[in-house]
Structure formats: structure tokens, C-alpha cells
């Protein structure tokens, strides 16, 4: 049996250390290279990273502390019935992990993240802090105008700090680079759909998450190299079921949980872990005279299914069913963070849609610092057996 190339293992290890570096050393080193470089931190789920890239800023995904930092101060900021993500992030801020950051964007996913943007202002973190409110009206003249003004505000925030005026060419170039990035990420998912044993779900997770904290040019190089290796045949297929994970788009599951699901006999062939990097479902036109408008239009018309988007007319339940069919999945694992209102409130509708289509599903909840996976492994294991033996 042919084994994975040593270089691929090396690449995954590199991505692993980048993805979970809570000091963001790579980003801070990148900033030091030039005085007009900026670091703009953003929380899950989505921000258009192209505008930051074009403004000589590095968009840095702050995806939580996982199980790698003990929360002490963060617990004083949030009640016990609030999810774990914001308490970890405020802990990082108070521990000076984010001191070199110039600005922070807080996408509108829930009240807790909205409150976190206020807390960052109160503790004076960053030179600008913006609550990034997605438009929920998809009319170009209403939601589009609102969204464009929001992007222009952030562009102005950055301009005031480094004096960079974003040119049409620069924004078009950034759009093209991120188009390539999304295509490469999608290629990895497509290869895994047919050959999930070539790269584990945790490896994919590390590779994609690393892209949140490094520049897109470097991430594209890594992705291209990974694809070259996984296009070759190696490893041995296991008799596992194929599942889609739904509900982990904001607070991220611990790596042990992803590993446990796979060990229990489930190939994760699609997920919403790093949804922001796969948000726009097609290429954005990177050749026009008004690239900012292209970003606006793509958000209004090409956004992925998400709890952060008002979805009447194109319900995410139907889109989940479509994804299950497209990926030829055997079932769905609803895996949301405890107290994650957006994911947990959506779940009944999504489950109903799965039931109507005869799609098997199970559900459980986690914290980003969950350390015990026995029960989850048991659930996933019996789910896998029930599909393998009785469907």
C-alpha cells in the first residue's frame, strides 16, 4: 500500500502550527516587513478579505482558542449560558495576544459577537472596531447600497491608518487571488469526495484554517502543493459511511471531536467549519471597472447557505439536502456548539428537511474546549453501523 508523501505530511504539520498559533506570529512577522502593512482581525463567519488584501492589510481569522488556552478572565465577561468562543477571544485580547492588530471586524452572526465588538471598544483593542452587519435585503439598490457603504467605511478605516488608496487594479487582483483560493479549496473537497482516505478531515481542517492567518498568495501555494500530492493514488479505502457536518460554522469543534467522528467510521466529506473561506459559491468578476460592486453583487447573489443570511426563497434546508445529494453522502451529523443560537435554532428545520428526504442524521453539541469524546464517538459509531448494516 502506497503511503502519503513525506512532504505532504510536512505541509500538514506546517499548517497545523500556523492554524493554532494563538500569538499569530506569522501575521505579526508579515506586518513588520513594511510600515504601511496592517493586521485586521475578523471573527467567524465571513468578511470580504479582498478589500483588506487590496489595502495592504492582512485579514486574520480569529477562530477561537479551542482547547489551547485556559479561560479565566473571559468568564467574567460572559454569562454561563453563552457559548465559549467570545470568552476565549476576549481572554486573548486581555492577554495581549492581539496587541499588534490594527483593527477588528465582528460579523453579525449573533448577539454575543455583537457584544464582543463593544467589549473590544471598551478595552481599547485595535485602532478601529467595526460590527460587520450583513444586509438581509438582497435588492441591489437597498441591501447592495447598505453593504457597499459598509465596505467603504472599512476601506476608509484602513486608509486613515496606512494612507493606501485601493486602486481598481489592486482590488481586481485581490479578487482573482481569492477566486483562485476558493477554487483550490473546492478542489480539495472534490478530491476528498471520491478519495476521502487520502487526506483526513483533520488534515483538511488544518490546511484550510491555516489560510485564515497567512497571506492568500502563500496559502494558494500550499493548496496547490497539497492538491498535487492528493491527486496521486495512495492509502487504502475504508468501509466508512460518508457524512456532512452541519452547524460548526462559528465556534470551532475541537480537533479531537473531528478525529473521533472519523475514527468512529465516518468520512467527513463536507462541512461548514471554515465557512467564511468558502462563502461565495462561484468566481467573482475580477476584470471590471467597479470591483467593489462585484464584491457587493457576489454577496447578494452567490452567498452560501448560512444561518447568518435571511433565506426566504432559497431555504438552507433545501440547500443542505442538495449538498447531501451532490456529495453522495449517507447522512448528516448536526454538530453545533452549545448555546449557539444560530445553529441550534436552524436545526429543527434542517432535520425536518432531512427526514422528508429520508436522509439519516444524528446530532450532538460541543464546546471548543471539550476534552471527552467517548459519548460522541459512541453516537457516531452506532450511526455508522446503523447505516452500514441496516439501510
Amino acid at each position: 500500500m502506497k503511503q502519503a508523501a513525506p512532504r505532504l505530511i510536512e505541509l500538514v504539520e506546517e499548517c497545523k502550527s500556523l492554524a493554532f498559533d494563538l500569538n499569530f506570529s506569522y501575521a505579526k512577522e508579515w506586518k513588520k516587513q513594511s510600515p504601511d502593512r496592517l493586521l485586521v482581525g475578523y471573527l467567524p463567519i465571513y468578511v470580504p478579505r479582498q478589500i483588506m488584501h487590496a489595502a495592504n492589510a492582512l485579514p486574520v481569522g480569529i477562530m477561537g482558542v479551542g482547547d489551547r488556552k485556559q479561560i479565566i478572565k473571559g468568564d467574567a465577561y460572559y454569562q454561563s449560558y453563552i457559548c465559549h468562543l467570545p470568552r476565549g477571544i476576549i481572554e486573548m485580547a486581555l492577554d495581549h495576544n492581539l496587541d499588534d492588530f490594527d483593527g477588528f471586524l465582528f460579523p453579525s452572526i449573533c448577539d454575543c459577537v455583537r457584544n464582543l465588538s463593544g467589549m473590544f471598544k471598551l478595552v481599547h483593542k485595535g485602532k478601529f472596531t467595526r460590527y460587520f452587519d450583513y444586509p438581509q435585503n438582497f435588492d441591489e439598490h437597498i441591501g447592495g447600497t447598505f453593504y457597499r457603504e459598509l465596505l467603504e467605511t472599512i476601506i476608509n478605516d484602513m486608509h486613515l491608518l496606512n494612507g493606501v488608496n485601493i486602486s481598481i487594479e489592486a482590488l481586481n487582483r485581490s479578487i482573482s487571488l481569492y477566486n483562485k483560493n476558493r477554487k483550490l479549496v473546492e478542489t480539495i473537497y472534490n478530491i476528498r469526495q471520491d478519495y476521502p482516505w487520502r487526506l483526513s478531515a483533520t488534515d483538511v481542517y488544518h490546511i484550510i484554517r491555516a489560510g485564515m492567518v497567512i497571506n492568500v498568495e502563500k496559502h494558494n501555494e500550499i493548496l496547490e502543493e497539497v492538491i498535487r500530492y492528493i491527486e496521486e493514488d495512495y492509502g487504502e479505502p475504508m468501509d466508512n459511511i460518508r457524512v456532512i457536518i452541519s452547524g460548526s460554522f462559528c465556534e470551532q469543534p475541537p480537533i479531537g471531536l473531528i478525529k473521533s467522528i472519523e475514527m468512529a467510521g465516518c468520512y467527513i466529506i463536507d462541512d461548514d467549519f471554515m465557512l467564511g473561506s468558502r462563502w461565495i459559491q462561484d468566481d467573482i468578476n475580477g476584470t471590471t471597472e467597479d470591483p467593489l460592486n462585484e464584491l457587493v453583487i457576489s454577496f447578494l447573489t452567490k452567498s452560501t447557505a448560512s444561518s447568518a443570511i435571511y433565506d426566504v426563497g432559497n431555504p438552507r434546508s433545501a440547500r443542505l439536502v442538495q449538498l447531501v445529494k451532490r456529495r453522495n453522502a449517507d447522512g448528516v451529523i448536526f454538530c453545533a456548539a452549545s448555546f449557539c443560537d444560530p445553529a441550534l435554532l436552524d436545526r429543527p428545520e434542517l432535520q425536518k428537511a432531512c427526514d422528508a428526504e429520508g436522509i439519516a442524521h444524528i446530532n450532538f453539541q460541543f464546546h471548543e474546549n471539550t476534552g471527552q469524546f467517548k459519548v460522541i464517538k459512541e453516537q457516531a459509531g452506532t450511526f455508522s453501523d446503523s447505516i452500514k448494516l441496516w439501510v
Binding site: M238, N240, T382
Partner: protein, 276 residues
């Protein structure tokens, strides 16, 4: 006929079976190895290789090698089945009329209600406390200077069992130390431990709404003292269950894995044929 293999990685022992899978499947060979302080992955791999060599087979000749238990420690395999699924199938292989399975493992006891096809309908298991487990019994036997293999017979000699805590392994171990210092006879101590474990099992069976016959599987299933204690406790509660334990009950998980592996092999072939 095809060959299948099932390997059950427990916390103390690794169990391996080679089977001829057909409508009348049969065990070709079986082997158990205590892990001791060795690397379980390496032990498992060596066991498989030795079994293959012994029968002049290659890995490619095995249609499906299935793991169960801590299956991620097995590197060379085709699939994995969860312990509850495999023990149920193993018990059904021994006694097709089985409707309840009690898996007496090293770290927990699990009671499983199954249907006529060995499909799991419901289960109840002990929590993280160790006092209902085989490991606990092994620890106690070690304190008393006994081998785990002899505790069953010794328990049968008891005339006046001294029941210990059925709730907590730590308390039970303290109880045992006190019993020794009070001069309680060894058979009475052992029987008391068996009764204590049995009472926990009976509670699980009650909440499971178990049906007869009950088949015992796992490492403790052949412990005669344990079986007697379960039967006595059931009688005390006026419950008429038939208890069965097969001589190969320690292999139930591995047998179940091998049998489900065979089933999956043909199912996958069918799927491929449909796809073509």
C-alpha cells in the same frame, strides 16, 4: 465461501478470529493475547500476521478484516464496527434465540436488547465508575493473591458471602481490606464482590426491560461465580431469565466483527454491481 477476520481490541486483551463466512459461518481459528505493557497496534498487527501465516493466507485473501473495540489502533483493516453491534452479532451467532446481551468488559458492563436479526434495539451501560467491571474484579483478586482464572471456582465455595459496596470501586476496595483484616474467608469476599457486580447488572437489565434468554459475553462471561451470582440475584427478584454463556464468549466481539464484515463485503459487491 470467503475468509473474514475480526479483531477486538480491549483494554487488557486483544481477541482475533478467522472465520469462513457463508450461510453457515464457522470459526476457523481464534487467538487471545494479553497486551501487558506492549504497543497494542504492534501486538494486533503481529497477531494478524501470525494467524495468516499459520493458515497459509495473505492479507489479500481476507475479504474483510473488521476491527471492534479500540479499532483505531488497528492499522490494517477494511472497516470498523462499534462494540455494541459486534457483541450483539457474536451472541446471536452462539445462540440465535438471544434477546438480551450482557457484555461484561474490563472497563464497563453493557446490557443490550436485540431483535431476531441481532439488531440493537436499546442498551444501558455502567457509567465511568469501575466497580461493575472486570478490571475491578482483577484488582481485587490480585489483592487477595489469586489469579483471575480461579476466582470463579473459589466463589462457588462460599457459604456466607460478605457483600461489599456496589457503588464505588474505591469504597469496595476499602471494604475488601477491612474484610481481610476481620478474617472473612476468601471465597466469601469473592462471592460478595460477584453479588455486588451482579446487583448492578440486574438494575441495568431492569431499566432495559430485558427479555430472555440473556447471553453473557466478554472477559467475565465464563466466570462461574459471576454467573451463579447473577442467577441468584435474579431469583431473589423473582425474575425467570435463562442465562447462557458460550465457551467462546470472550470472542463475541471479534466474531461479530468478522460476521458483519462478511455481510458488508457482499453488500459492497452488490452496490458495485448496481453501479456498473
Amino acid at each position: 465461501m470467503i475468509y473474514t477476520m475480526g479483531i477486538d481490541i480491549g483494554s487488557n486483551f486483544i481477541k482475533l478470529v478467522l472465520m469462513e463466512y457463508s450461510e453457515n459461518s464457522k470459526i476457523v481459528d481464534k487467538h487471545t493475547e494479553k497486551i501487558r505493557k506492549r504497543n497494542p497496534t504492534q501486538v494486533a498487527d503481529e497477531m494478524v500476521q501470525l494467524m495468516l501465516d499459520k493458515h497459509g493466507l495473505k492479507y489479500e485473501n481476507i475479504a474483510y478484516l473488521a476491527s471492534t473495540g479500540e479499532g483505531d489502533l488497528v492499522k490494517r483493516k477494511r472497516g470498523h464496527f462499534y462494540g455494541m453491534t459486534t457483541h450483539s452479532r457474536g451472541a446471536h451467532f452462539f445462540y440465535p434465540e438471544a434477546r438480551t446481551v450482557v457484555d461484561l468488559g474490563a472497563l464497563y458492563v453493557r446490557t443490550i436488547r436485540i431483535n431476531q436479526d441481532a439488531r440493537v434495539e436499546d442498551y444501558k451501560m455502567t457509567g465511568q465508575c469501575a466497580s461493575g467491571s472486570g478490571q475491578f474484579l482483577e484488582n481485587i483478586s490480585r489483592y487477595l493473591g489469586l489469579s483471575i482464572d480461579e476466582v470463579g471456582e473459589i466463589s462457588l465455595q462460599s457459604g456466607n458471602p460478605e457483600v461489599s459496596s456496589g457503588i464505588c470501586a474505591v469504597l469496595a476496595e476499602t471494604d475488601v481490606i477491612n474484610m481481610v483484616s476481620r478474617g472473612i474467608k476468601t471465597p466469601d469476599i469473592i462471592k460478595g464482590i460477584h453479588l455486588s457486580i451482579a446487583s448492578r447488572i440486574i438494575k441495568l437489565l431492569g431499566s432495559l426491560k430485558a427479555e430472555s434468554p440473556i447471553v453473557l459475553t466478554g472477559g467475565m462471561a465464563l466466570n462461574k461465580g459471576m454467573i451463579q451470582a447473577i442467577e441468584e440475584t435474579l431469583k431473589e427478584g423473582s425474575k425467570n431469565f435463562i442465562i447462557k454463556a458460550h465457551p467462546d464468549s470472550i470472542y463475541a466481539g471479534a466474531i461479530g466483527a468478522a460476521l458483519w464484515g462478511g455481510y458488508r463485503h457482499y453488500k459492497l459487491l452488490e452496490k458495485q454491481a448496481v453501479a456498473i
